[in-house]
Symmetry: C2
DNA sequence: CTTAATTTGTCTAGTGGATGAACAAAGTTT
DNA sequence: AAACTTTGTTCATCCACTAGACAAATTAAG
């Protein structure tokens, strides 16, 4: 049975209602008349759609606004408390969960730090975090509209986790598990995709339609927003650029190849280069970032040089990315972004080596939401998903 | 003045008409009833839209078809001769022009080979080719629906040529020039984008929605089709992956950086490596490809080894591309594709080194249209552009 | 050979949503 | 106080899609 999408007046209404809702969200507060102008819809049409939205609890009136020489407008507000969204950032040694309203504002958060555990324990922690947030949600008409979980690994389009090396997960199913338990839509996504979406919605990426978000932690992952939409690839595995070869004859990577970018430009890279700069390792795992930042803060020459070197490697990859995508904005996110001060000059220097027309309108920035971009991005996925679908599901109201 | 796209019955009709037309194009010949089923539109709606299309000369009836136990259907055909399209591939030392019908079938072509000349001479040759094809076009209701020109260089979204190093062009305007002269819509595009589109429409890419087309000639350029649409980047300069660094400490590239991919994996790469394999250069420019292929055909060990090495470099870049995009299909096009026999094994070997889930559903292929992908792609751009717009412009009919 | 069933394509009445204009209500400016 | 503005609702109209009836054309069955 082949089903092509056809266009009829139902779709028209759906789309226009969505347009009106998003216009109100964006300009909140705004009058009906102003909304009609912004959307270039007819006043009457807007009126009728707004009344629908009010009945559905998505919009409310907040009394008269300022007159500009005529009848005072009735201001409309997006009902940010029509429901709540939950976003989870499943880190390698932490879990961050946020409960947000429908504008993505954080109402509550829960952070757990733990050392590496088995899959079962990790899941148990995750459920605890979700339970905690659900138990404390405010009273809203739609309650929890969805749960999103960001994973540091490859997730396919169906939400299956194919491989999360740092969690030691392979072929893990958690979407249905969570969906069954909580009875709400669940979205599983790659952590870099989530971070990219978070920055686009609530961070430094709000004005760009072509964003490459580079999540640099232990490894490197990329989230890409192209033409205003997240690109996932054929199966959902786009952005695995940590394993881009930048050095033909470089060191061996656990992935089996030589000279992968993340060996040079991630926390792994920092760790590997410490010996060369005669900086004694602090611990025997690879998490020296805070330690190195502390030293850099005290103007330790070796640490500064090290950051400069790694910054250069990051810049090299960024240059490759710019040549590939011709983006509007490149955002450096995740843990490495806290070293902005010491790596940024080296990155920018490399970027100067790209062809002149690539630099036109290109912005390099660092994460605006810092540690929260992933969790907030996942919450945003669920919100957007809800806004696209509530109009069907709630016909029973 | 902010204009958001709103949805009304005009848009609905437009979209449905487009859907019907494309359905007829795809299943040609097909009856009205069958079209209604395929599009899931109402029979009456299809009838009315088809009659519009017939009046507009886009569709015609070709008499009764086979009955399946009832009244015999009236078969509908797409009127491939409603107009013609012209596609030009502006090569470094040749110009290929094709005149096609609206299905992209080549009705006539004109090939000119010439040594490098100034911009003025090149343009003069281009005009000659176009004039030649226009003079010989068949009689059609819409005549020439557009002209597309593929350029081996960076073209911005407005059709300005920013830089075409191998043509020695910088900041050249030809779109308006052609448009003024011929009075039809003109599209200027990067040659790799054109090739990608050509392969998607008429070549080996017809079934894929996520295609990376790698145009390997003197240099390397990429055309990408993501989610079924060509991706151009923020300004139109995506796909400049020839200058992706794959060797940190590699040789200097004219672009100012070290170890660019195209130094290793293009015709430049072949040329550079010839000395190491003790193959005497044949000419003093960098076009030894035909010469090397001739030697490989005779099983010349050195030539085979050389192709194997360069194939490995190509494969390395393809691996990077696969990790970045998670594509459905990778197509090797342009001149280097004629060495398929000798480079393919090395490329596939490198591809085996990618993570297992990246390989799922991934197809590596070589250009199906060979030397014609760019020109046909450009013709296809003009056709698609016409099909999207004729419904507005021809209201005066 | 007649009759029933099937398929195609047109036509008509009805539905739903957008539009434009009229209008009342509620302001501001002169 | 009068004239002008702005807002938001209402109503008649338009337009595209839909469902269902129907005639024409054909095959299948008795």
């Amino acid at each position: 049975m082949k089903k092509t999408k056809t266009w009829n007046q139902h779709v028209v209404k759906q789309e226009n209602k969505d347009l009106v809702l998003h216009t109100i969200m964006r300009y909140d507060p705004i009058s009906r008349a102003e909304t009609a102008i912004k959307t270039s819809l007819n006043k009457g049409t807007v009126s009728s759609l707004v009344n629908d939205l009010i009945e559905e609890n998505m919009v409310y009136e907040s009394g008269p606004g300022k007159s500009s020489g005529g009848r005072r407008p009735v201001m409309l507000n997006f009902n940010r408390m029509a429901g709540c969204s939950i976003g989870i950032d499943l880190g390698v040694n932490y879990i961050l969960g946020v409960l947000t309203d429908l504008t993505g504002e954080i109402l509550m958060e829960k952070y757990i730090k733990y050392e590496y555990e088995s899959y079962e324990i990790t899941m148990q922690h995750t459920l605890e975090v979700i339970d905690y947030l659900i138990a404390r949600q405010p009273d809203t008409p739609y309650s929890i509209v969805g749960i999103g979980v960001g994973i540091p690994g490859a997730v396919d389009l169906k939400g299956q986790v194919m491989l999360a090396p740092n969690l030691n997960w392979e072929n893990v199913e958690i979407k249905d598990k969570l969906q069954d338990r909580y009875g709400v839509p669940v979205i599983i996504e790659n952590e870099a995709n989530a971070g990219c979406y978070g920055e686009k919605k609530y961070g430094v990426g709000s004005k760009s339609n072509h964003i490459l978000y580079i999540s640099i932690g232990i490894g490197i992952g990329i989230g890409m927003m192209l033409n205003g939409e997240l690109y996932r690839g054929n199966n959902g595995f786009s952005g695995e650029m940590g394993h881009m070869t930048i050095d033909l004859n470089g060191n061996l990577c656990p992935c089996g190849n030589r000279g992968c970018w993340e060996l040079y430009a991630s926390e792994k890279g920092l760790h590997a280069a410490m010996a060369a700069y005669e900086i004694p390792p602090q611990s025997n795992d690879q998490r020296d970032l805070e330690y190195l930042i502390a030293r850099a803060r005290q103007n330790d020459e070796r640490a500064l040089a090290l950051f400069n070197t790694v910054g250069g490697y990051i810049g090299l990859g960024v240059k490759n990315i710019v040549n590939t995508f011709n983006p509007e904005q490149v955002i450096i996110g995740n843990r490495m972004s806290s070293a902005q001060e010491w790596i940024e000059p080296a990155i920018r220097e490399k970027l100067d080596g790209t062809l002149w027309f690539q630099k036109e309108g290109l912005h390099l920035e660092f994460s605006g939401l810092s540690t929260h971009s992933s969790a907030m991005g996942m919450a945003a996925f669920s919100i957007e998903n809800f806004l696209k679908s509530y109009q069907y599901s709630q016909t029973a109201l």
